[in-house]
């Protein structure tokens, strides 16, 4: 076989294994890259929560979040996101088992969970804006509330919502490939599913912290 044929064969067949690296083991380059992205994105969220903590601790007056925000509904949204994380690990497992049908099914469940979460967030925003909680001006039951409450709430949850939206789009792209059987050929072909899984779990992880700091504390 000449070099041209070898190159073509390499391109067609999935890589069967990743060489062992002394620092990162069998993690693919894509996985290391995704983790570096997640770390820096985590710092972006950390910065926002950092600012929230400082502004809130320095404020002379701050409303009790549970008086304004719907804790029960958001708790359900949190649970939906946790459910979608479970369906995501099942999707990754299905890809590794070369189970195309399972992969497509679990990816669809994960996407549905993400869309449901976004739906709840849109409903919540609409309700809050109509009730007087704006980005720059806040009133609640006829009384003026510290406007930083609205600014920080929309900044942090909005930034997270953008991540969920990006995650859903990313999942849809992976679903398209999964339907064509791209990620169930064995070897490292399932790697893109693992990468989208990492991103999706990160979005879930961040929401766990946002839910506690913004809604419950």
């Amino acid at each position: 076989m000449d070099s041209g044929h070898v190159a073509a064969a390499d391109h067609a067949a999935p890589q069967t294994s990743v060489p062992e690296d002394p620092h990162f083991g069998k993690a693919t380059g894509g996985k290391v890259g995704m983790w570096i992205f997640i770390a820096q994105d985590g710092m972006s969220f950390g910065g926002l929560l950092f600012a929230y903590g400082i502004l809130r601790s320095a404020a002379t007056e701050w409303p009790v979040p549970s008086d304004i925000l719907g804790i029960s509904l958001t708790a359900i949204a949190t649970f939906i996101l946790i459910c979608s994380s479970l369906s995501m690990v099942f999707a990754v497992a299905a890809a590794e088992e070369r189970n195309q049908e399972g992969l497509v099914r679990w990816l669809m469940v994960t996407i549905f969970g993400g869309l449901l979460f976004l739906g709840v967030q849109v409903w919540e925003y609409t309700h809050l804006v109509h009730a007087g909680i704006g980005f720059a001006e806040c009133t609640w039951e006829g009384e003026t509330v510290n406007s930083l409450f609205g600014s920080t709430f929309y900044s942090v949850t909005g930034f997270h919502g953008m991540h969920v939206t990006a995650g859903v789009i990313y999942l849809c792209c992976i679903l398209r490939g999964a339907m064509k059987g791209k990620y169930t050929q064995g070897g490292t072909s399932s790697s893109p599913v693992e990468l989208v899984g990492l991103f999706w779990h990160f979005v879930d992880l961040v929401w766990i912290l946002v839910f506690t700091f913004i809604y419950l504390l």
Partner: protein, 114 residues
């Protein structure tokens, strides 16, 4: 880490990355256990503010909620994101945002005791 622990971790990694059917089944069981734990902790978390308003102090509530939130986040990172089976270098990368938390605690302590 002892040799025995390394072997156990590697077996689990094999199971988590498409090893034997039995291993895959046990991984599914583990994922469901983590999922149920996360659900239970969320219920507990949501229940805390109502208990707090009746009896507990603000600091107790804050510490308890932070502990629960970080425990849940830790479970997601360790098991769902497979950090348990990754090499230490990748774990260090994942820990980078935690430095931000350390800075936040220091600044808040400074504000509290100014």
């Amino acid at each position: 880490m002892t040799d025995q622990t390394t072997t156990t971790d590697e077996s689990a990694a094999d199971a988590g990355h498409g090893g034997h059917a039995e291993g895959e089944q046990s991984m599914r069981g583990l994922y469901i256990t983590i999922f149920l734990t996360l659900g239970l902790l969320t219920i507990f978390e949501v229940y805390i503010p109502s208990v707090y308003s009746a009896a507990w102090s603000g600091t107790t509530k804050m510490l308890l909620l932070c502990f629960l939130a970080f425990s849940k986040a830790g479970l997601v990172a360790t098991y769902f994101m497979h950090l348990k089976w990754e090499k230490p270098w990748l774990r260090w990368i994942a820990l980078m945002p935690v430095y931000m938390g350390v800075a936040l605690i220091l600044i808040m302590l400074e504000t509290l005791y100014r």
